[in-house]
């Protein structure tokens, strides 16, 4: 099977990148469990958003507004906590915020028949601006600490029993769930069909617009969750945060083997793609690399990963 071969290559790439940093960083601290936990915590925001983006890209779409939706959702969380809403209400509020933003994307794509690149380029600006408006152009810090602020904090003694912070568990549970949805539900298969051959899917009676709308709404919901974790990470909400995040998310999905022309991609691949990116970030930081060096390395990895994949596909095609 081609897809399993893909995954083996990805796992090898992850192991190679990881051990390289492990060897480069003195004292073996990179291999330490604490470091693994740190990397998982740090990758959970990108990871959650990448789950939704995997569906969108497999469905032949793209969403540039994920960074803005994530930031906006985090602003909604802080705004509600500041006004003494219960954390649960803020939690639901953030997910609804993300979902509604996603539905907006979906409606614009399906009703206006404008390409998703342009639509989400527009909503990227609009949603971020709404967030800035809600936050009055500054950051919002709630007065009291709540559980929402501790979702990806390192675990302290009484909570040790759940091994990983809740934010990481979210990512793991939802990744498994989305993997199953993609493979074993009608919705999942329709997303693949639309991304692979939209005309064929339409002829077969697949409700194209409904599936696309659901796909963007789902992606928005994941950005809502990512927004909650972003708030937890910063301890406050900054409407200008998470800018450029859409590129990291797309990169994780593409490194994970998804094709920007649709039809191809897996949840597991996306997770590994996100971990490869995180390893470079963490490793580079611990190695004391400057930001600009890390960014160059990340850029090179993205191009290399996709070029390798294309080369492999071409070779497979020549071999027949």
């Amino acid at each position: 099977m081609k897809s399993s071969f893909n995954l083996i290559g990805l796992v090898i790439a992850l192991v190679v990148v990881f051990t390289t940093f492990g060897v480069l960083i003195p004292g073996g601290s990179f291999f330490h469990l604490d470091n693994l936990e740190l990397m998982l915590r740090q990758s959970s925001i990108i990871g959650l958003s990448a789950l939704g983006m995997t569906f969108v890209i497999i469905g032949g779409g793209i969403d540039l507004s994920v960074g803005s939706i994530t930031a906006f959702s985090s602003v909604v969380v802080a705004w509600m906590l500041l006004r003494d809403y219960s954390p649960w209400v803020a939690f639901v509020g953030a997910i609804l915020t993300g979902t509604v933003s996603g539905i907006l994307n979906g409606l614009l794509v399906t009703r206006l028949k404008v390409g998703p690149f342009i639509v989400t380029l527009g909503t990227m600006l609009i949603v971020r601006a709404v967030g800035k408006g809600l936050a009055n152009n500054t950051s919002i810090t709630p007065k009291h600490e709540t559980w929402l602020g501790k979702l990806i904090d390192p675990l302290k003694e009484p909570d040790r029993w759940h091994v990983l912070p809740w934010g990481v568990w979210w990512l793991i549970f939802l990744a498994v769930a989305m993997g199953l949805v993609l493979r074993y539900t009608r919705f999942g298969r329709h997303v693949v069909a639309i991304g692979s051959n939209e005309a064929a899917a339409r002829l077969c009676g697949v409700p194209i617009d409904r599936v696309k709308l659901a796909m963007y709404a789902l992606n928005g919901a994941f950005c809502g969750l990512a927004g909650i974790l972003l708030f937890a990470k910063l301890g406050q909400a900054d409407p200008t945060s998470a800018s450029g995040m859409e590129l990291e998310v797309i990169a994780a999905v593409v490194i994970g083997g998804a094709s920007l022309s649709g039809g191809e991609g897996t949840i597991l691949g996306t997770l590994i793609g996100a971990m490869i990116m995180q390893t470079i970030k963490s490793g580079g930081a611990q190695k004391g690399w400057s930001d600009w060096v890390q960014e160059i390395v990340t850029g090179v990895i993205i191009v290399l990963a996709v070029a390798l994949d294309r080369w492999r596909v071409r070779r497979a095609a020549e071999k027949g």
Binding site: K2, Y184, T185, R186, F187, R189, V192, A193, G195, S196, N197, A199, A200, A201, R202, L203, C204, G205, V206, G263, E264, E318, G320
Partner: protein, 493 residues
């Protein structure tokens, strides 16, 4: 219930307009259970439009339809499919990344709370796939990895799994080899015996004869006639299609070969050709015959520098060595791709721009001169278009092909490499392309043409070489060849 006399499906007074053009001007059509009903006509005659109306892809402006005596007005292909009318399109509508199983049941997946019910899916798909001879294909294999013929059978399975009573096949054989066509016909006969009504759109009269019981001829959006296939001659059909007597399809005049312009010696590419040696002279037309997949297209592509040369030599005039398409054009070689839409033309651009695409030698372009060049092509090849500024995507297949040929004429090539130049185009356009090939040879150009249609090769070529599993046989004068002898060589008998 239906009696044998009552039609399975009836269309009455169907009118379909696209803006100012009338695609269908009140067409009546009936098809009965247990028959194969062919629809023939030139490109643009309205065959596909009529069937798209029946299959629910288009809603007619006027007219009514009945399925088994009940009114039938599908709003979408899905609705038509559920009601019992399924269409297999000329362009395959396989979802390449989806499994065979998923493809067969696409759009009608049995689910519980949105989750697929695998066992039920298999129960639905397996018998249908087995009946079509696909019982051995792994259900989870991505459908895109099946050979084209099997993909087409998957599409037919998609039609049968919904118990479609009416199955429409729109030029299903255009991408199949002869062996696969035979398989398809067996499947069609079996469906016919089981009481399905099959509607078959084709350009190939010999296929219509082989499979159809009845035929309806369309011309310019009107029905010219309906006949039992047994009683008509080819000439009658063709004159019904074109509305005029056409003379000999192949206007062969004596050619006098000059100096050799293309010499290939022991040529081998990455996969195909394996071994090819050939000489083509000015003023002659050389044909390459062979089955699909025998490496004919790859031979042309290798000569043109699109595929890599592994061994052997290519000499074009006094130039030698491997080349890029860019250099080939400069050396006076033009190529017509078999895949007009994907490779041959920039369909979003105008006729004029496509005509000049290979001849942009100066860094500046003059739109006025391009338009003039486009107009020359339109006049010379009688391309049916509003003008040289019209987008190629708006033209019919035959006229698109003529634009691709106009590009070579505009460039003034010495050697034309033509890959399936008449695939999927109407008889009128075919005739013009044959005449063009003949004129090219008379004016001292050389033509190397690949075709799957043997009568055509025998009609236009001076010499024919047969390709078999990547090996090119000797080029023999056409006078000593028959369809049978060429076919024997092609299948390696």
């Amino acid at each position: 219930m239906t009696t044998p006399e009552a039609p399975m499906v009836a269309m009455r007074g169907i009118v379909q307009r696209f803006g100012a053009t009338v695609a269908l001007a009140g067409v009546d059509f009936e098809a009965h259970a247990g028959e194969v009903h062919a629809i023939v006509g030139e490109n643009g005659s309205g065959k596909s439009t009529l069937m798209r109306v029946l299959a629910g892809t288009m809603r007619p402006d006027e007219g009514s339809m009945e399925l088994e005596g009940r009114p039938f007005a599908p709003h979408s292909p899905a609705e038509a499919r559920v009601a019992g009318v399924a269409m297999i399109h000329q362009e395959l509508t396989i979802v390449a990344h989806e499994s065979v199983l998923g493809n067969v049941l696409l759009g009608i997946e049995p689910t519980r709370f949105g989750w697929l019910r695998r066992s039920q899916m298999e129960a639905l798909a397996r018998p249908t796939l087995s009946a079509l001879g696909l019982g051995d294909v792994p259900l989870d294999m991505p459908a895109g990895r099946l050979p084209i013929a099997a993909q087409q059978l998957v599409e037919i399975a998609r039609a049968l799994v919904t118990k479609s009573k009416v199955v429409i096949l729109d030029e299903p054989t255009s991408s199949l080899t002869e062996v696969d066509v035979k398989r398809l016909f067996e499947v069609m006969r079996e469906l016919k015996a089981r009481g399905h009504a099959l509607i078959y759109i084709s350009h190939f009269l010999n296929e219509v004869r082989a499979i159809a019981d009845t035929m309806t001829v369309l011309r310019d959006g009107t029905k010219v006639g309906e006949r039992p296939v047994a009683g008509v001659t080819d000439d009658e059909i063709v004159s019904m299609m074109v509305g005029r007597e056409i003379g000999d399809l192949y206007p062969r005049r004596p050619h006098t070969p000059g100096e050799a312009i293309l010499r290939i010696d022991g040529l081998a590419g990455t996969k195909s050709p394996v071994e090819a040696t050939l000489e083509v002279c000015r003023g002659e037309v050389v044909g390459i015959a062979g089955l699909n997949g025998s490496g004919r297209s790859e031979l042309l592509r290798t000569i043109f520098g699109l595929d890599q040369v592994r061994r052997g030599q290519i000499r074009v005039g006094s130039f030698s060595g491997a080349a890029t398409p860019h250099r080939r054009w400069a050396e006076g070689v033009g190529m017509l791709s078999e895949d007009r839409k994907a490779e041959g033309l920039a369909v979003g651009l105008s006729i004029a721009e496509n005509t000049c695409l290979a001849s942009l030698r100066s860094p500046f372009v003059s739109p006025a001169r391009q338009l003039a060049a486009g107009q020359v092509g339109i006049d010379r090849l009688s391309i049916r278009a509003r003008g040289p500024g019209q987008r190629v995507s708006e033209l019919s297949g035959g006229n698109q092909q003529k634009v691709a040929l106009a590009r070579m004429l505009h460039h003034g090539v010495d050697l034309m490499l033509l890959d399936e130049p008449t695939r999927g185009i109407d008889v009128g356009s075919k005739e013009q392309i044959y005449r063009l090939i003949d004129e090219a040879a008379l004016s001292g150009q050389a033509v190397l043409v690949v075709s799957s249609y043997l009568p055509e090769l025998l009609g236009v070529c001076d010499r024919i070489a047969v390709m078999h599993r990547g090996r090119l046989g000797p080029a023999r004068p056409v006078a000593g060849l028959t369809q049978e002898s060429v076919m024997r060589e092609a299948v390696g008998a």
